[in-house]
Symmetry: C2
Subunit: 299 residues, 2 copies
């Protein structure tokens, strides 16, 4: 049981129609490791500046996260400012400050190199490629990306995709990558370029998961309280991969259940700003919501 996440650890300023929060902790690595921490002991790789709150690092460690791969460098933490429209699926980036991420080359600590599951969260695909070569013999490698890399470094991205098992994407990314508007055909096309599982994250419309042998679909949890959608996709990834690392099994049934745990974790994180929901969330609440998902789709 060993799960390594390479991602970003941010300070985010988030504007919603109701409220704005300044410089709260976020980032793909943050959301992913906290979600995964309910299932396994994630090992994180990334970099923060001196302004990254000490109490959050302690929170990570209290939740069993291995932070030996998280460098603290002189300077300021990567910063992102975004605004959500009334429709929370519509997000605008207002500002980014690269700060300590500039020139950063992720190094996998020696202690992490036997990772069984490796998650390459959204970063420059050239860095993702570099990380891959540092891990010895993972049983499962998953990756995420974004429209920016699809536009600017498609060949580097395709080269990483060839080497991964699980590819996470949203509607827009999968259509952009394949030039195919039909999501099912697009998903199946991705399967031909390397990954054996494609997880299409559709936000409030749930998840569609494609593999050679089956398609799995589940609606999103019907949430009345969507406060801040930031981190939903990364929390999905953390729940999905954290569960698989816990059970040490990667069959069809496992993957389906993992996608439900991913949806469960995403459904919690959007209920308040940033990582607030993870400060109080219990394993019981997670299991209860898993049962709610069973009821949601039962017929």
């Amino acid at each position: 049981m060993s799960f390594v996440v390479v991602g970003t650890f941010n300070l985010d300023s988030i504007e919603t129609p109701q409220e704005t929060r300044e410089r709260i902790v976020g980032g793909s690595g943050t959301y992913c490791c906290l979600a995964a921490s309910y299932f396994t002991r994630p090992q994180i790789v990334g970099v923060v500046g001196e302004d990254f709150p000490q109490e959050i690092l302690e929170h990570f460690r209290n939740r069993g996260v291995d932070t030996r791969g998280l460098e603290v460098r002189p300077g300021k933490t990567f910063f992102w400012r975004g605004r959500y429209a009334e429709d929370p699926n519509k997000r605008t980036t207002l500002a980014t400050e690269v700060n300590v991420l500039k020139g950063y080359r992720p190094q996998i600590p020696v202690e992490y190199r036997d990772a069984e599951i490796l998650f390459l969260a959204n970063i420059d695909p050239e860095l993702q490629e570099g990380i891959l070569s540092q891990v010895r013999n993972p049983k499962m490698v998953a990756m995420d990306s974004m429209n920016f890399w699809i536009r600017t470094k498609p060949n580097s991205l395709l080269s990483v995709m060839e080497k991964v098992d699980v590819f996470f994407a949203n509607d827009e990314e999968i259509r952009m990558l394949t030039g195919e508007s039909n999501l099912v055909r697009a998903g199946k096309q991705i399967l031909e370029s390397g990954p054996s599982v494609v997880v299409l994250k559709k936000g409030e419309h749930g998840v569609l998961l494609f593999s050679e042998d089956y398609v799995f679909g589940i609606p999103a949890y019907p949430s009345e309280q969507v406060v801040d959608p930031t981190g939903a996709g990364d929390s999905f990834g953390g729940g999905f991969l954290g569960y698989l690392d816990k059970i040490q099994s990667y069959g069809e049934k496992d993957i389906r259940i993992a996608a439900v745990y991913g949806s469960v974790m995403a459904s919690f994180v959007i209920e308040d700003f940033g990582i607030e929901p993870f400060k109080t969330l219990s394993k019981t609440q997670i299991e209860d919501r898993f049962v709610e998902f069973q009821k949601l789709v039962s017929f």
Copy 2:
């Protein structure tokens, strides 16, 4: 077992990025009754002109549809021309010709007045109200509408909604009606205005169904062959209500299964232009796809 559908019977010209079909048979009543005909013997109410193809009327009757309530009037059938974008969820109306629908007041034949299920497909809410008063003691009344009526006759629409059991809508309509961007809150708000079941049809993203006591969600069938989305919603309604009329039971479990049969019928009709899929579709194919839906969401 008696199911009455009041709807439109059109000639449609449909433009997709791949192909255009001129003056093919369509309309809410057409799609709904054909889908329902796999479960029960629907009775239809509507009007067509002399140009409505005789062989389609025969096809209706061959499928067990009671056409006594379908008037044939001098003049031309209601005509609609629409265009789908590369994204089949995006539809533009290019032309409508009211023709024989002008001044039409639906009359429920005496033989239909003991209908157990009544479906008021999308027409002027004032006409829907008039129809309601003609049916004696239905066990279930369902209605559909569209953004045009929400904008132009909101009060008439709300007055009908107070009197129905099942309300069908899409994302845009439900948000427009309630002024609520969160779909779950919007769905629950509709429940307060009359209907005991709200069926939110989300096209390629499936269906969310709200009632006082439960929420049911199911993804759309992951179709690689979306040729013409016209009639998907009406075919859903036909499958949903036709199944309920067949089993004569309206409990939670029945409603959930009905929503899956609705999704099954919608998944077939989009695979070719107009009502083409219904010309060859068999009950076995319907049952097979029902099983595929079970596999799709199983975990």
